[in-house]
Amino acid sequence: MTALLEVVQAQPAGKNVRRRRPSQSAHRWVLLGVVIALLVIWEILSRLEWVNPMFVSRPTDIFAAIPDVLGDEKAVDALTTTGTSIWWAIVYAVIIGIVGGYLLGSVQLLRDAFYGPVNFIIGIPKSIFIPIFLLVFGINTQTAIYYGAFSGIFYVMINVVGGLDLVEERHMMVARAYSASWWYRVRDIVLPASTPGVFAGIWYGIKNGLQGVLIFELFISVGGLGSLIKTYTNRLEIDRVFVVVLGVAVISIVLGEIWSAIERRLSRWRPSSTANADTGA
């Protein structure tokens, strides 16, 4: 009887169907309308030569340049190089960042010693370290990977430390009361409790790893999309520059969407199971 009375607040499994609100689809159409309107205004201003088309290409020219860029062997090579570099930069940033973050968050001595320096590095532009990376690792694509990883690691670490602070004492007490071993405490309490911070950290690792690789390629001509942008800019092929920028934006959005989907799947237990990381996508 008691169960029946309390059941009112809950629904049996499988009945929790999420319906899309009608306004959501309307919202998307409005957004699309705004984007199209901006492109039209841009096109008109350019045709009226209120903005110089030599420096800011028209949207129609940019769309027309897409097949040219995609047919350009150098562009395809650059995309492959940058894609590979971004992938490895993210892998290094996430793995080292998570391990480092857990060490920093769980060993008080390390936290006291390194939390300040890590925060300091986050607060300064990472590009000032590019010359040091060049000196240590040389001018090659591998250095872009290391620099990309460096750009992401500290954000991952700091968020993982924040995630560890979310572990609640009352849950640890349950583990103690039920005689959980060290391993069970880590696996069943600490890791899941800290996932919000870890997920946010991974997203920042992806975002900053991607940025780091592109910035390095822009500064140092080691190939990749960053270098390609520089080449097209020097040749005043601004429409092609915009195509590459568009491509980078698409990569960023796709990575963000993939990560959001993974995060939603892994966070079903949380009160709001939508992605909590600021994906910016």
């Binding site: 009352r170 849950h171 949380r270 009160p271």
Partner: protein, 260 residues
């Protein structure tokens, strides 16, 4: 399973190095299948005493034994806890929460599933096995916490204000339901409570603790057989014991006199 506390004392040390006695001179014996409630003013050490019984806290002096064996660390098969704020793990579903103690004990997945399901049936939540705690009401979550403790088949159940976070109506319904379950499963129960009604309604014996440092001020026996229906609340015995508890807890001179 008989639990015994001998000359138990707990003293906390503050950050400034000062010693603060929390419990003193606790001598108590709880018999097999006995239901004991512990009541007392805020901060008198009720929860501290329960933690000592379960091995979550080591006393400063004296000892706790269960069947003659000293309690030095938690053992959920000997004594399992039910905490006030449910403390279910939000990332595990209801079934996994009910079986988490077995999981920590290294039992197989199949055993955890079977035993967890049995315990959910016992507390009437078998339909909600796959849901997450956030999808349940407070009363339902507390029943999962009871299922989690019962899954360990403990000799003693240690309940720390298990219904403290619930509204009055849910408290009464759940209390009545749990009373039946705990009586049927025949085990010793020690329950800390703030509620005079709960203390009388559930108990074979009520332990009244004095203000800090907590010491046993009085033990009161409740003779009505368990499980009790809600109509017990209207009986003379209930009213008289409740009045006695009220007097002890609300009139300082009465408590001082009882403590002597």
């Amino acid at each position: 399973m008989a639990l015994q506390a001998k000359n138990l004392e707990v003293t906390y040390r503050t950050a400034g190095g000062r010693s603060v006695p929390a419990l003193t001179d606790i001598n108590l014996e709880i018999a097999d299948r006995e239901f004991v409630t512990i009541i007392g003013p805020s901060g008198c050490g009720k929860s501290t005493l329960l933690k000592c019984f379960g091995g979550l806290l080591s006393p400063s002096s004296g000892e706790v034994t269960v069947n003659g064996q000293p309690v030095t660390e938690p053992d959920p098969n000997r004594a399992a806890f039910v905490f006030q704020d449910y403390t279910l793990l939000p990332w595990k579903n209801v079934l996994d929460n009910a079986a988490v103690g077995l999981h920590f004990a290294g039992r197989s997945k199949a055993e955890c599933r079977t035993r967890g399901q049995e315990m959910l049936e016992l507390v009437g939540l078998e339909e909600f096995a796959k849901q997450y705690p956030r999808e349940l009401s407070g009363g339902m979550q507390q029943r999962v916490a009871v299922a989690r403790a019962m899954a360990m088949d403990p000799g003693i159940l240690l309940m720390d204000e298990p219904f403290g976070a619930l509204d009055e109506q849910t408290r009464q319904k759940l209390g009545s339901e749990m009373g039946r379950i705990l009586t049927e499963t025949e085990r010793s129960v020690v329950m800390v409570t703030h509620s005079l009604d709960e203390a009388v309604f559930w108990a074979d014996r009520i332990i009244v603790l004095s203000a800090r440092p907590g010491r046993i001020a009085k033990e009161i026996e409740v003779k009505a057989p368990r499980p009790r229906s809600l109509s017990f609340i209207g009986t003379d015995e209930f009213a008289m014991i409740r009045a006695e508890l009220f007097r002890l807890l609300e009139v300082p001179s009465a408590m001082a006199e009882a403590s002597r």
